[in-house]
Symmetry: D2
Subunit: 309 residues, 4 copies
């Protein structure tokens, strides 16, 4: 019941060295391995709003165990009257946060004309849910060559998602990270924002050797649900999480974008701990905890048992 697709550059069949089910072709970004043995927690503010806010959250994320920093500077906003992001100035702030914390940067690009600018700052270029089928943009990030985090469109099928990645791959860029963030269903609105589709994560991990991560924040839409969705994703063995963080005590109503769904650093630390314990469970009781980012993921070239016994 996994969909049959013609062989693509992004399907497992084109990567014989990753033929084993669930084995992952890692993506290296800013010295961090996504798709290695340890899930990578990517955290940060929804939006870069100021130097102080960003540096403060970045430090807290670093302390909580996050290994990459996220933050939007060009924002896809439903309304043209909502804050559209700080643009280049925001990128400078992210660069400063990276310099201070050592965390590589993930940030979104919306416009094919800005791939070069955003790419010159970012360690991973994010293509957002609303841009998943923005084919000129996909082509540009494919050409540019830096690692790409490709979110699923909230109304997109798995097949459409894979073909979107194929646009990137066809440009010569194989450094692709898939990110599930929930799909739109009749149930949304009452208790979540999108329905996290873990079956798609499972199918994707079968079909492609590329790392798959999950964004529980946008699926949840409110902070209270984020830890549960994060734990659920980790239990599938995903390669990372993309999480929005707010400062403790922040007035959520004044956060310029998605204030309801940011978690505080203590909750982030719990999620990082869960990620580590999940990874330990998968490595088995005798495996040493990876102490750095040098693992290349090939040790995962075996079907991990759900629970080592």
């Amino acid at each position: 019941m996994i969909p049959a697709l013609p062989p693509l550059r992004v399907t497992r069949s084109s990567h014989p060295e990753y033929a084993a089910p669930f084995s992952t072709r890692p993506v290296m970004a800013g010295g961090v391995t996504v798709g290695g043995e340890r899930p990578v927690v990517i955290a940060g503010p929804c939006t870069v709003e100021s130097r102080e806010q960003t540096l403060s959250i970045a430090r807290a994320c670093k302390k909580a165990g996050a290994r990459m920093l996220r933050g939007g500077t060009f924002k896809p906003r439903t309304s043209p009257y909502s804050f559209q992001g700080m643009g280049k100035e925001g990128l400078e702030i992210l660069a400063e946060a990276r310099a201070e914390t050592g965390l590589p940067i993930v940030t979104e690009v919306l416009d094919p004309r800005l791939v070069e600018l955003v790419g010159s700052y970012a360690d991973v270029i994010q293509v957002g849910s609303r841009s998943m089928q923005n084919f000129p943009l996909l082509t540009e990030v494919g050409r540019y060559g830096k690692p790409v985090l490709l979110k699923r469109g909230f109304g997109a099928t798995l097949e459409e998602w894979l073909y979107a990645a194929e646009y990137v791959a066809l440009g010569g860029n194989m450094e692709i990270i898939f990110c599930e963030r929930g799909i739109r269903t009749f149930a949304n609105g009452a208790y979540d924002r999108a329905t996290l589709d873990l079956a798609a994560v499972h199918a994707l991990r079968r079909l492609t050797p590329f790392p798959v991560i999950v964004d529980p924040s946008h699926a949840a839409g409110h902070a209270d649900l984020v830890p549960d969705l994060a734990a659920a994703a980790l239990s599938l063995g995903v390669d990372g999480l993309l999480i929005e963080v707010v400062q403790p005590g922040a007035d959520r109503t004044k956060v310029k974008c998605d204030g309801e769904q940011g978690i505080v650093p203590d909750e982030l630390a719990s999620i990082v701990a869960r990620a580590e314990s999940e990874a330990a469970l998968r490595r088995g009781p005798l495996a040493p905890v990876a102490s750095n980012d040098s693992d290349d993921g090939r040790a995962k070239n075996r079907r991990v048992e759900l629970v080592k016994q």
Copy 2:
């Protein structure tokens, strides 16, 4: 149960001269009024594949009563291996078809860098379903100023659609035509491609004074269903239809894009006749049939009765 929105440039409240329910602020494009008393049938090939194919279909559409010509030259294709369109050469062919038939051209733009090129040929610039939240693109077509046909994203809410139009309006361009083309639901795949959301058409016509048209072809996904969905849309009093046409006897499997859903010119003629009879019904028994495109739609500034009695 019509959603309450803050006043926008695209909502009725900002257009006191179109305060009457369902009254329409017409859009003039290439000499044709969209939003006047006669629904405008826009027809043509899914994709411009060759000069011969396009001219032949254009002539047939003209003969069948279509009043604008559609045809894709930059195509948003799920797969990068599918035909991506003829590009500028296709625009030249469309221009030739317009010169011969007199039909104004509707064609899609995908890339903000190509708005000027596409706009220099098109009478109406189409922003497709996958681009509805491509904000840099919306901003560019807003600046460019030519009439815009804004398709609903297949996973987009009504509110998101209105705000997408607001991006165009904010650029100074009020020549906006909305186009419903179906939403993604659990039912799709077995007997259609998307579920045509006529309730959204109703709500939109209440909320905004701009013309609303319907694309039955993409909702249907197969030619057999197109006339029924077209008739259904017309019965709501929509301002037009966007329909894909194939040549009679064409081998649908060789059509380069969406060959299953194109109807033949005879079916198009039936739909045009239905459009005219629907318009006559709405004008009432004594109103003369509009014989040209000079109506400005203000005569529609009354709530039309469903059936004149």
Copy 3:
């Protein structure tokens, strides 16, 4: 793109006398033909609340041109604290309304133990959306033998709907009327209650010879939208409509069930007129208007043209 199914008792292939596309095997109920040349408008209160309310609405529906009377006496209510219907007393009231107006009765049964009771009053037994896969109930109404109006489950596929009807047919009851009432989608809540799936109506009319009607009231959820959805359904050539009516000037907030979606009798009369004009259009210019209910629908054994020319 019409789903392939094994031959069923309810598919066209089992009814060679109705082999022609869209030809309809009529259902006779209380002297009225459903599936003949004239669409049958079935109207009445959502719920029988009192003798006075029901008789008053029944008279108004009769006057407006409705040909059958609907009204719930056993109600499927989401909450156990909502009014559950008048039960047997309500059936008595419906019988009195029938005696006075001559309109046959459509009313719902929820419980297999009550099929006989409800059936002893009803001319058509309704199986509601929430009961579409209540297999013991389907079996009982199949055995009982009176005409059945089978609503589509709001989460059901076309295939599930056909198989639900097959349960009825297998009991020996071929007097089946299908009723589309909208499906649950991400869009619901803001401007409608369910998304009316007209493509399913089209497919069903191809696949089965049984009459297909549409309930615009439950799809709409508010009165304002009902005429548009009714007109849309009629434009497909459906065999009838099921519509909820409130008394003019009624305080909608005091109506015990679905007060927002009932239309007033004047709007009903407009819809009846639309139904008649649609039927006339389909019969063609020379066909006499059917002046009674004696048509057996076989005259429809031809593919009607969308518009006679």
Copy 4:
């Protein structure tokens, strides 16, 4: 963003002794506590097909660590031509399996007339997804008094689900177990059968003190996906799982119902181990592993930390 509801018998506000978030009012069934500290894995064949098949699977489930036995004897089948279950004979077989293995029985009832019969065998009466809004059935199981496993309708909102439970509670039966089994979305069919809605599980556990379990088998639709969905559910702290099991080496195409989604006993054992390790994680490093079913769940009257540190 948790929906506000009026106080119901099934909401936390009516159970002051379970006021603490996520504290659970346990349900005792056949000597097993659902809603205690250990998640209860309920496993067995989709359908009781024969004495041998059922006893064999029951033994294997027992051995794998399951604590209750599931198996259908009255089956809700889409098609009337599919195997409808062994009925009373199947109940006898289940009773024999219970006698041999000591596992309490969960089995479904479809018909209000059979609640007494099914209830006389079952330890837990299941109300299936298609029956969630079968109000006469809910009322009967409410009156009957035995524990009820109430599956969510695949098209039902959380609010509808809670009100369905309220029908049971209003009959005087507070022994309710909720079971999430996936909702119908546009994504289904390609890689799953329904989209497991873990956000609803989270919301439900907040809103109600009753145990919440998850059925990964019906959401998955194929065996390969079941362990991942089971692990995801467990990571939220659910009170149990409902899982379909096939005999090792069984010819899935000959299984009479849902043969594709049954897992083999070894996979079941892995899931049981995962359930135990998840429970241990939640109890914290110092808590003893519960060695029997006597825990009453009150020890869970605290917000468990995602990971003990």
